[in-house]
Symmetry: D2
Subunit: 138 residues, 4 copies
């Protein structure tokens, strides 16, 4: 299963005085890629899930390993995979690369909740049906 | 050894439509606390280290576990500890809490480099002398 | 009437490759100072106004003139004044300075609304009572 | 002359508890559109101008008028026009609209400088040649 890829244009605004993307921007990029995955692969982004379906997916964990700086010289390709789909949780692997070189890899775990009460819930059947085939073989 | 604590005022600007601090803001808060540690405990923040001493400390790893939402209702106390001091690397533990309740815990590892060439180096003697006594007993 | 002053610690995270605070950060700083004014002078910040009192103050205008770069070398002092208080609107003047030198000046106009319907309203009597004496003599 | 248009996907990360894009994000969006104008119309973005040509374009003024909230429900189309081209300065008009409705309009003035000394300069001939035909008739 090919990973979903979200492309980001890195700019001056993202860079610090070392002339590379500021470390704090990398989690933002990864989260933007996961939100794009929801919108383009599942059919509803975080905004629509929360406001229209009263479903939230708060994060309980994230980790990132950095292997090369991110700069505005190339597009940043963010590949998103579903690493694990639990009863009430989902884990993503996200890899950021520029010009074919991996810059960082990350792991992200979210839980499904009823938005307005923050109580755990299972994802709706139609969302599970879209996610299940995408779980990466490991 | 008491941890250094950096206090952050969380505001409307930090919050998403769920009325809690956006996930992507939490790494920013933790990094802000580490930069404050450099400034207030070591005596030079990232800006001064880079521009005045040509020393950079790029991140090679970060991870965060989230246990409670962050909101503007209370100050966010960020406790920073030196978890490990290697020959050319340093690891921090950062814990964010509000009103006495832990909201998130994080681990962060940086390497010491010559800023303009990004080659690894040992920290200067006077910086090591300030950091060494702070390494947390584990 | 002395202006309310909100102090900001500018850091590496705020700076771009020119080693000065990124232009887009300046409106953030000014808005942070206005939110601090609400919290510390009026007694309720934007978060409390919206969530507890169903009052919003969306912006209809902002303008900024920049006269000197902002850097992490000094604290950024943001002086907030009430320039005008209308029936359903309020205008602020905000000046940012470092080490006694003005870096930027800004004008900001907000309208008072019922948050959940976004319809204009007058501010509550007790809020007007706190704001009225602060209107700058011009 | 049709304006250059830069499209932005607004997301959860950009929104505040009022479920609309936070005011402080709007200047970011406008600046992102201007940086895209440099990259796609002139051929070098702020990063390349600064690092490769030692040319900076710091802002001396910005103003924004807001007429409708920005949300993730539609793409944000940012139309960028050159309003004025002076000897050592340039002014842009930027209009943000969603689903055909104007959300905000902005004016932005920058000066051309030698990056490393921050002294004013004229833009290079080839950059002026690209910009001059784009100045909006008023």
């Amino acid at each position: 299963m090919a990973a979903f890829t979200h492309e980001i244009t890195v700019g001056w605004a993202d860079c610090d005085p070392a002339a590379i993307a500021y470390t704090g921007r990398i989690p933002y990029f990864a989260l933007e890629a996961i939100d794009a995955f929801w919108r383009e692969v599942v059919g509803a982004d975080w905004y629509a899930l929360n406001l229209d379906q009263n479903i939230g997916t708060p994060f309980v964990h994230l980790s990132l390993d950095f292997s090369a700086p991110v700069t505005p010289r190339h597009k940043l390709a963010c590949a998103v995979e579903v690493a694990r789909l639990g009863a009430t949780s989902i884990s993503f692997s996200v890899t950021g690369s520029q010009d074919g070189r991996t810059c960082w890899t990350g792991s992200f775990t979210c839980v499904f909740v009823v938005s307005d009460t923050m109580t755990p819930r299972e994802p709706p059947t139609e969302i599970r049906a879209r996610l299940a085939p995408l779980v990466a073989d490991r």
